[in-house]
Amino acid sequence: MNIEVDARGQACPKPVIMTKKQLDEVTSGVITTIVDNEVAKENVSKLATSMGFSFEVDQMDGDEYRISINKGDIKIESQVSTSSKFKDMTIAFASDTMGKGDEGLGKILMKSFVYTVSESTPYPSTLIFYNCGVKLTCEGSEVLDDIKKLEDEGVEIISCGTCLDFLNIKDKLKVGSISNMYTIYEKLKDPASNIIIG
């Protein structure tokens, strides 16, 4: 079965929701989603990866992409043993300050916290940034080098696309990738532990 989902002109996270709905409805087949921007392409591709389906991306005219997801073909991800380098843990940053009350104090505490995370092993598996937390992964952040170090070590760095968009700093992102609420929820519910800072 081949189903086409036309998600052109749809704002994030609509293309992902539309694709997921179709994927949930069919038992097997190919779902082809058409989107008109790169972020939507990335997010639909991530959806396919997270659900374990293989997919192909074709770039059409300009920023238009066709993502063909094959539900018949369940990919078995080989779970590489992550040894003791990582702990199955997500740290979520809900703000660019650590705690509320005094902004100056909150900012200095956050710098101190991120540095400590970057210097301590095992590393967390994922860092998630949302609301004003996304300022930490963007240009002008004083903790960029610590977060980049963690990314180089293999820690997954995710910033909320809605938040970057709202704060108008999507083009200022300097580390990690952009994702959506589905990923944020998955990363918060799946690990053995999670910490929310903000």
Binding site: G104, L105, I108, S112, Y115
Partner: protein, 88 residues
């Protein structure tokens, strides 16, 4: 593991640490705000880490009375081990 040597200053209070950040920025000194290393722990929780080459510039600023510090250290990081040697 790479052995890295830095300068480190600690403060008597967090307010002095915040003030220290401003003084460092005004003097274009590259630094990082970090939790005070455990081996130097008897001061406020925050310290400023900077390039060892800037130690003389920092000393000069301290001597001018522009920085209220608790201690100035030569801080050595060797992998996950570190040590601090007090200078002032």
């Amino acid at each position: 593991m790479k052995r890295e040597i830095y300068g480190l200053i600690t403060f008597k209070s967090t307010h002095f640490a915040l003030q220290g950040e401003v003084v460092f920025k005004d003097n274009n000194i590259v630094f990082k705000t970090i939790p005070t290393p455990r081996e130097v722990s008897h001061s406020c929780g925050l310290a400023l880490l900077f390039m060892v080459d800037d130690i003389d510039i920092v000393k000069n600023i301290i001597e001018k009375g522009l920085l209220q510090i608790d201690g100035l250290y030569r801080y050595t990081k060797d992998g996950h081990n570190s040590s601090a040697e007090k200078i002032l």
